[in-house]
Symmetry: C2
Subunit: 299 residues, 2 copies
Amino acid sequence: MSLVIVGSLAFDTIETPEERREKIVGGSCTYCSLAASFFTSPKIVGVVGEDFPQETIDLFKKRKIDMQGLEFAEGKTFHWEGLYGHDPNQRTTVRLDLNVFADFKPQLPPSYKGAELVFLANIHPELQEDIRIQFTNPEWMAMDTITHWIENNRKSLLGVLKRCHLFFCNDEEIKLLTDEINLLKAGKKILEMGPAYVVIKKGEHGALMLGKDFVFGVLAHPCEEVIDPTGAGDSFAGGFLGYLDSVKKVNEQELRKAAVFGSVMASFAIEDFGIERFKSLTLPEVRKRFSEFRKFVTF
Amino acid sequence: MSLVIVGSLAFDTIETPEERREKIVGGSCTYCSLAASFFTSPKIVGVVGEDFPQETIDLFKKRKIDMQGLEFAEGKTFHWEGLYGHDPNQRTTVRLDLNVFADFKPQLPPSYKGAELVFLANIHPELQEDIRIQFTNPEWMAMDTITHWIENNRKSLLGVLKRCHLFFCNDEEIKLLTDEINLLKAGKKILEMGPAYVVIKKGEHGALMLGKDFVFGVLAHPCEEVIDPTGAGDSFAGGFLGYLDSVKKVNEQELRKAAVFGSVMASFAIEDFGIERFKSLTLPEVRKRFSEFRKFVTF
């Protein structure tokens, strides 16, 4: 198959109870494509400003990420500032500067249009739709979102959701979207809205995946030190979709493994600030942790 | 082996957002012994008043629960009243009448003293200690507690904990007891306090078990309707210890299965108010759900 990832490339300013980091590289597309690159060569769609570091571009090259769809625009890169509490699941957005993202109207490179697997990471749902319709015949369209769009752009969001096959969300988002506190019921509601599968990420509690005929649960890797939770969800999606792309098929068995690889990649992402951990990560480490996940739940 | 369960037999008044039930049978010993009775014939230690229903005594008999250690005292049975929010993990104690429990000073029947497996369910830690020392040579001493004793009787609690091999707690309790928000770190701290194993129950998110050399995670059964969360933790302990007693050995492999059987029994307990579900439950249903747990996490 061929995987296209659409999303943000950003500078993140992150404050945890222990440390503050100013303007380190982040963004949904960044995390997702780096995580996916351990399984396949993803193509990315996004925009960066003149201040985006060459070092990260070089990292993308090294990890064989296809940057034909990456726009280099005049101005500054998108900037997000977030604050984490002692509970890593609690996060507040302190500041958001759209910068070059404000006028982003991506046109897909011709080589992208036939992609079988597409991930519309968290961006404005109308932008997701503009991009979605440019693909000629994607077999598997996946998407993510955040509470902001659920609260403020529900109608457009539901429009994209209807056309998607795979929906990634977290527990807070799905409760808000479906007005249902029980995750199983909430997941079933999503399956009636369009997607064939829904993956509910639950932070330190793992993730739940629902299809029409099955429910699969994956635990989060037991982790003693969460350094920076930013990008865990996008890394999950990257591992998940990268794995699916590499096996070139989507069925229950592969989806279960994909969810575990998603958890594996998320567990690495949080071990250091920003994308640091992905710089040194190796495929044997990824495979080793996959085995640890199996051992963790085997009885 | 032989399993003795020490704890409360009670009337519970329970209010959920949907329904209120007045004075239905509950108590840690009740839930735990009923859950354990699907695997073994537990012996119980506790006290009831003159108002305790014969129907429940008959149920205990039917389920082959040994009641030699059950005291029938003059006065009223212990009564607890609790209120649940929309989130079943949120519970408030509205009222507590100790009644016959206030003067409970149990003397173990001679046939109980040689038990290899003992569970000190949630009661005052000093009472736990008084009972603990009556056992001649228990191979496996397990205990549970609640935040109330951690806050008000920490010293006595730590004394019992030091002598126990297996500690059951929930996430809130272990965080309070260890002053550590990370469950893995918190669990390791407990292992330094005495127990060889700690089981951290996380409600709808399942449970985490730690030993010196391993970590095991079990998810909660995906459940669309939590009718009454009361007794889930005690039923978990009952399934866990009942299974261990039935296989007559304690090792990592059996402990993993025990944790799953714990989750299985907890998942049944919450399907109806009080102990209702255990009245109709059958062993084939228990086995079927155990298989479903395996399928739920298999990849």
